[in-house]
């Protein structure tokens, strides 16, 4: 039978052994930042490609992100299997981003129904809010600041409707997602145990 001290020590050592690994989250940010920036630049540089066929834009902006989602889900499942456990923090982040993905699908579907409705500003606004929440939860300032930047940036867009929205995407994703993602990836505190 264990003594009281030994039992407290067992509990403490097991709880301390759980590490919150934030590297996979940063990989997700970098992946989506690079993908969407590359797609926006392509759309901006070669607009004729999207004018040649009726549904080329729709296919481009749904098929590629869908492939991205599948690759992203596969990567996250692999990481989860390797770790052998899921912390409450990881679960909360997974739920938040799952809700964002559903909202993204909703906004895209709405933009194809209402022709005058462009999906980029509301998606960036929503992304900004989700980034602020994520940054505050994981206590990582660059992500919170990226979210604040995106929120202010989308507010500014309302007063400057003439800006090319693909360039808006490039600026928004670079400062809101890619740079905070790289900052998290190279951060020394990649293993936090406050899960």
């Amino acid at each position: 039978m264990n003594s009281t001290e030994q039992q407290i020590e067992i509990i403490n050592s097991i709880i301390k052994s759980t590490k919150e690994n934030l590297k996979p989250l940063s990989v997700n940010f970098i992946f989506w930042g690079v993908l969407i920036i590359a797609m926006s630049l392509f759309n901006y540089a070669f607009p004729s490609v999207f004018q040649s066929a009726q549904y080329s834009g729709l296919l481009f902006w749904t098929v590629l992100p869908l492939i991205g989602f599948i690759l992203n889900i596969y990567y996250n499942i692999k990481i989860r299997k390797k770790a052998g456990y899921e912390t409450y923090l990881s679960r909360v982040i997974k739920i938040i981003w799952g809700v964002f993905n559903l909202s993204w699908i909703y906004i895209i579907a709405l933009s194809y129904t209402l022709k005058s409705f462009h999906p980029i500003p509301p998606i960036l606004f929503l992304l900004g809010i989700i980034l602020i929440i994520t940054g505050l939860i994981i206590k990582f300032k660059p992500i919170t600041l990226g979210g604040i930047f995106l929120t202010i940036f989308t507010f500014y867009l309302n007063f400057n409707p003439g800006i090319n929205l693909f360039l808006v995407n490039v600026i928004g994703l670079s400062f809101g997602v890619l740079l905070p993602g790289l900052s998290l990836f190279y951060s020394k505190s990649d293993n936090k145990s406050d899960g």
Binding site: T4, Q7, I10, I11, I15, Y85, E86, S90, R91
Partner: protein, 91 residues
């Protein structure tokens, strides 16, 4: 004191599950430093007492077991921990 949590393997399992939303069998085997058979017995005991949920599924043609703590398990663990602290403080 809760006799179920007096066993060190069961205490390690519960300590891990209180901190995580889900843990795999292999991870629990590693942190409890127990054999597969012993771990299975302790998990079964915790499940019978309704302290944990056990989920079994197939992944890459292999059976995979994952566990999570129940509401009752959480309450019992917190009670047990409070009692340990009280005992320690009273010397």
């Amino acid at each position: 004191m809760d006799k179920i949590l007096f066993n060190p393997i069961r205490l390690k399992i519960m300590s891990s599950l209180i901190n995580n939303s889900e843990c795999d069998f292999n991870y629990l085997k590693k942190i409890t430093e127990s054999t597969q058979g012993n771990l299975s017995i302790q998990l079964k005991k915790l499940k019978e007492e309704k302290y944990i949920h056990i989920k079994k599924k197939f992944s890459d043609n292999y059976p995979k077991t994952s566990c999570s703590i129940t509401k009752k398990g959480k309450i019992k663990f917190e009670e047990f921990f409070r009692n340990l602290i009280t005992l320690k403080e009273n010397g």
